[in-house]
């Protein structure tokens, strides 16, 4: 789970000081994400086998030209399952971050702009959600709703939004007394317009950085929930499910769990790397310190 951002960063409108593509690490991150997205989008075209197709005659085969990453205990092709798994992981990441990000940002905008009792109430609510260790609350929610991938996504989004609320509110507090906001108010702009046109664009940069980290966190959390039986269910080719299915073969056929885990590591690592790169680019002060 990625840490939250400790320092304020500049808005998108104050364009990034360091071009994002100038840093080779960002290029590596973007390339890895592109590969990941390509696998997710075109899995049916590039996967050599049907991910659910069982072939008991060739079960537990080590990696070979016929099965690049070997086969699992039911003879299913691991490479094909990983490719289809990319699809599920990408959906999880995007849905969690989009829903939690939008909801949390709206809460933070309203709290920061309204101030007073509204701010107090919304921030206490945010603190409550931040008090729960994410996976444990997600387990309880997934337990209440019943184990399924959709419910795992709901559970992870429920523990993710609070960070966006706190982040947005903090930014709004430092912006709402600035001249451009006062000026907009003076010419009679509505509060919706001030929030949407003047404040939101200036808080997007830290939110994007957080979103990059959370894409990775959501993928790990969903895989973790699936691993203990609270997310995707077998025979779904989800990475956490695959690691769980390979658990009893870790001594004899380690590739069953090894490759899906490496897939998670690469996907999450590339989002974390991109998050680092964005932070360096958007915050000149931090970027000087980091390099």
């Amino acid at each position: 789970m990625a840490s939250t951002i400790a320092l304020p960063v500049r808005g998108l409108r104050l364009a990034a000081r360091a071009p994002i593509l100038a840093n080779p690490l960002n290029l590596v991150a973007l390339a890895l994400i592109a590969v990941f997205a390509f696998c997710a989008l075109f899995a049916p075209l590039i996967a050599p086998y049907d991910p659910l197709l069982q072939d008991l005659g060739s079960r537990l085969m080590p990696p070979s030209p016929a099965h690049w990453l070997g086969t699992d205990s039911l003879g299913r092709d691991i490479a094909s399952r990983i490719l289809y798994g990319a699809r599920i992981s990408l959906i999880i990441g995007v849905v969690v971050v989009a829903s939690a990000g939008v909801f949390g940002t709206v809460v933070g905008l309203v709290a920061g702009y309204a101030g007073g009792l509204v701010d107090e109430a919304l921030m206490r609510l945010t603190e409550v959600f931040l008090a729960f260790p994410a996976l444990i609350l997600a387990m309880a929610i997934a337990g209440a709703l019943g184990p399924s991938l959709t419910n795992a996504i709901i559970a992870i989004a429920a523990v993710t939004w609070a960070v966006y609320a706190r982040l947005t509110r903090g930014q709004i507090l430092s912006l709402r007394r600035r001249e451009f906001v006062e000026a907009a108010r003076a010419i009679g702009a509505s509060w919706v317009r001030i929030l949407w046109h003047h404040l939101l664009p200036n808080v997007l940069a830290p939110l994007m950085i957080q979103a990059s980290f959370d894409l990775g966190s959501a993928i790990i959390a969903a895989a973790g929930l699936s691993f203990i039986g609270f997310g995707a269910q077998p025979p779904t080719p989800e990475w956490g499910v695959m690691i769980s299915e390979g658990r009893n073969y870790i001594n004899t056929q380690p590739w069953l769990s090894l490759f899906p885990g490496l897939a998670i590591l690469l996907a999450v690592g590339s989002f974390n790397l991109l998050g680092d790169g964005l932070r360096d680019a958007f915050d000149p002060r931090l970027s000087r310190a980091q390099r």
């Binding site: 206490r124 409550v128 959600f129 008090a131 444990i136 387990m139 309880a140 209440a144 691993f227 956490g240």
Partner: protein, 337 residues
């Protein structure tokens, strides 16, 4: 006086958060499930059992009254009865808490002992090989799924190399030390039992390293960036200009100031350790809260899952409070500001 005021404000804040936490756990247990009776009793309960359950848990009363009863129970330490173990959940939690505490503390020690020097090393050799190495290892630590890492570590160090045990807290043929703190390593030290000590330390190594890797990465990154910021400060130049040895400049003037943000991160880290413990304990058959929660969740043992959730939500703000107290003493500015 200022400290007392700060402490009072924080405790009131935690109490407010706890009220919120109780509302959420209440909602999860009483409102979200379409049928809490079915969730608790399963599909095969008789009408009579359902009726008895509804009245025992006051499910036939209005929601506000149910919440009130729930909170009164919580305040009296009544977390309900586990469906799986048939014991009071509070007793189960009491029994499994020390194991989780031992694992989390060991992981935290790993994170501090490895993370802080790694961060300092990375900062003072910025742009060179050690820096790249620490950053790469930290990036992996922040991206690796803990349950997968646990499996790989067991495969390698238990099955292949046979260096460490593959699970549990102590060897089956060894009698656990008499309980004083509940932490086997500490208890066996107190009892002076070297056999117990050896066995419990060996059992602790793999799960603590697995669980601690993520926190180590977080702390190394944090220490590196705050150290880099501190290294550029004027007082560092002054210290060097005075002719102090570089080692003293870095450790006495640099690290002491760079550690302040790292201490803040420790509290947050503790929360992530608890989440990580759920999965790590499951992998290493470590009989703590995490494994208890997972076993409970798989058995649809709702009171038990909520008990763990509630306890975890209390531990997190309390850990942060302890960190804030440490912070208060570490950074004199907070005492006057």
């Amino acid at each position: 006086m200022r400290f007392l005021g700060f402490l009072t404000r924080r405790i009131v804040g935690i109490a407010a958060v706890m009220v919120g936490v109780s509302i959420i756990t209440f909602a999860i247990s009483h409102v979200i499930p379409a049928d809490p009776v079915a969730a608790a009793l399963g599909d095969h309960a008789t009408d009579q059992q359902i009726e008895a359950f509804r009245s025992e848990y006051h499910l036939d009363r209005p929601l506000p009254e149910q919440y009130f009863t729930y909170v009164v129970g919580l305040v009296h330490g009544d977390l309900g009865r586990s469906i799986r173990t048939r014991r009071p959940v509070a007793d189960d939690l009491f029994d499994s808490f020390p194991a989780t505490m031992e694992l989390s503390l060991a992981a935290l020690i790993v994170a501090i002992v490895v993370g802080i020097p790694a961060g300092v090393w990375s900062a003072i050799s910025r742009g060179r090989l050690p820096d790249h190495l620490v950053r790469l290892v930290s990036l992996i630590g922040g991206s690796v799924p803990v349950f997968w890492l646990g499996l790989i570590v067991i495969g390698l160090f238990y099955y292949q190399l046979g260096w460490f045990p593959g699970g549990g807290r102590i060897d089956n043929f060894v009698t656990p030390p008499p309980t004083r703190t509940g932490l086997y390593v500490v208890d066996s030290l107190l009892a002076g039992d070297l056999e117990d000590l050896r066995s419990s330390v060996l059992h602790l190594v793999l799960p603590a390293l697995t669980l601690g890797y993520f926190s180590t990465a977080v702390i190394a990154r944090m220490t590196r960036s705050s150290m880099l910021e501190v290294l550029g400060q004027d007082y560092m130049r002054t210290a060097r200009a005075k002719g102090l040895q570089e080692r003293l400049v870095v450790l006495r003037h640099g690290l002491r100031n760079a550690l302040i943000p790292t201490v803040t991160i420790l509290g947050l880290t503790f929360g992530s350790l608890l989440s990580g413990a759920v999965l790590t304990e499951t992998i290493f058959s470590w009989p703590g809260l995490g494994r208890y929660a997972t076993a409970a969740a798989i058995a649809l043992d709702f009171p038990a899952v909520l008990g763990v959730t509630l306890l975890a939500a209390i531990v997190y703000p309390v850990a942060n409070l302890l960190v804030d107290i440490a912070y208060f003493w570490l950074d004199p500015r907070t005492q006057h500001g």
